[in-house]
Amino acid sequence: MSLTITSRKSNDVEILILAGRLTLGDGTGALRQAARQILDRNADILIDLSGVHYIDSAGLGELVSAYASAASRGRHVKLLRPLKRVDSLLHITKMYSTFEIFEDEAAAIASFKPAVSEGNR
């Protein structure tokens, strides 16, 4: 099974809901395109990973690439509810401290507003 991406808006944050495998090829290509479109609209992104059961190194590269291109435009990419596989790759590669990662969507959305204190888990 490959990757399907759906999106919705909450306040000014666009939530990308990923389901399937985030791996080299179709998966990374789809995420790259979706993230680029949102960043072109100058919005922040919350990536919901609760449906991603497998990720490879290229998938992680794409997440970081989205994070870096957002940062270069003064925007943010944060992660929501990574499953075991993604969580463990983030730990192994020491990328856990780079991303802001949330278990609760409301807290994640609130964190994008500078006035509210960030609820990093």
Partner: protein, 392 residues
């Protein structure tokens, strides 16, 4: 009267027979060659000559066909503007249908006098035969192109194999070995052992994100950077930071194809060394009779983000200690949904001593995977300190 009618029919039949003959002959000629240019030239010539037309040409939206010479004889200057939808007098056409039923081109003849029914039949028959011949010729061209790509990949593979350590240095009191297999012709894993002038060993095991040719190209640039600074005697954390910056500066594609790596600088005379893990899966250090130690990452992968810092860890090997550096291609060998995993790999290190540890590991992995195809590059570096009185 009767005889005259029979005479007409005979002439009619003779004409039809002649058309069938010429179509068969035309078919033989267009199928006689496998070269696309010859097929196209043949088709156009046959169409023009058999139908006594002034000229013939092909109209196609296929880029490969459009780039070829596809006109024969005398045709009006604006022939390229011909379209099946504009029924301009003086032209007759038939579609060339590909193997999936798609129209690959239109075969058009330019003849001021309209075609008879038989002639139109002939043109259609010729177009059908031509489509088959064109399809075969295009397939043949792709095969030739593919053979060239395959030769290129074979050459690239030979180069990548030659960039691996040609001989592992003999280290007194130690056994040192490596093994590397790619999942495609070339791969993104890199392993190297460089003896330094002061007697220490510089070792690296790295994994470029992704696999195949793109990752292999990146792994070679990483190797160059590593080799250029490995002899400079820098502390490992500084080396890692510098490799990170060098890779980051290679640009966006390189950043996506970041490198996870473990750098080890080891002195076999003092049995001590240093190690840095940059975003790589943990290395295993197993001392005889003790709990294994995992050497995890102290910083992110190299080249992913600018200006990162790394921490050096000390490494000491007692007699009988084993150090295993490996890429995740080993632990992520799958049997159905079940992966080989770290615990099984550690289990192998806990087994009886064997000189062919890595060969044995690869055999075990192959047995585990059964008929499943290798899905990632697999590379490992293994260092074992001999027990007293034991051959290394």
């Amino acid at each position: 009267m009767l005889s005259a009618r029979y005479g007409d029919e005979t002439i009619d039949l003779q004409q039809k027979l002649a058309r069938v003959h010429s179509l068969l002959e035309a078919s033989r000629r267009v199928h006689a060659t496998i070269k696309l240019d010859d097929v196209l030239a043949g088709v156009l010539e046959i169409a023009a000559k058999e139908l006594e037309a002034e000229g013939a040409f092909l109209i196609s939206s296929d880029a490969q066909l459009e780039s070829r010479a596809r006109v024969f004889g005398d045709v009006p200057d604006d022939w390229t503007r011909w379209s099946e939808r504009t029924e301009i007098p003086g032209y007759a056409s038939a579609p060339m249908t590909g193997s999936r039923g798609e129209t690959i081109a239109h075969l058009v003849v330019y003849r001021p006098e309209p075609l008879t029914l038989e002639e139109a039949d002939f043109l259609e028959g010729l177009a059908l035969q031509s489509a088959l011949a064109v399809g075969n010729a295009q397939h043949h061209e792709k095969m030739i192109e593919w053979e060239r790509v395959q030769l290129d990949l074979d050459a690239a593979r030979a180069i990548q194999r030659s960039l691996l350590p040609q001989a592992v240095p003999r280290v007194e009191g130690y056994g040192l070995s490596y093994r590397s297999t790619t999942c495609y012709e070339v791969g993104g894993d890199y392993v190297d052992v460089m003896p330094l002038p002061d007697g220490r060993l510089m070792m690296v095991l790295a994994d470029v994100a992704g696999k195949g040719l793109a990752s292999a190209l990146i792994s070679v640039t990483f190797r160059s950077s590593f080799r250029a600074i490995a002899g400079a005697g820098l502390p490992l954390d500084e080396m890692a930071a510098r490799l990170n910056t060098l890779h980051w500066q290679e640009g966006l594609e390189a950043r996506r194809r970041y490198v996870t790596a473990i750098l080890v600088c080891y002195d076999p005379r003092t049995h001590c060394g240093k190690v840095v893990n940059a975003g790589h899966n943990p290395a295993f250090l197993v001392a005889a009779g003790k709990e294994p130690v995992r050497i995890g990452a102290s910083g992110p992968p190299l080249g992913m983000l600018p200006a990162r810092t790394y921490e050096v860890e000390d490494l000491a090997m007692e007699e009988g200690s084993q150090l295993l550096l490996y890429t995740d291609g080993l632990t992520e060998v799958f049997r159905g949904d079940e992966e080989f995993g770290e615990d099984r790999l550690l289990g192998l290190l806990g087994g009886p001593r064997r000189e062919d540890f890595l060969d044995h590991t690869w055999k075990t992995l192959a047995q585990f995977a059964g008929n499943s195809r290798q899905t990632d590059d697999m590379t490992a570096l293994y260092l074992r300190r001999a027990m007293k009185g034991e051959p290394a």
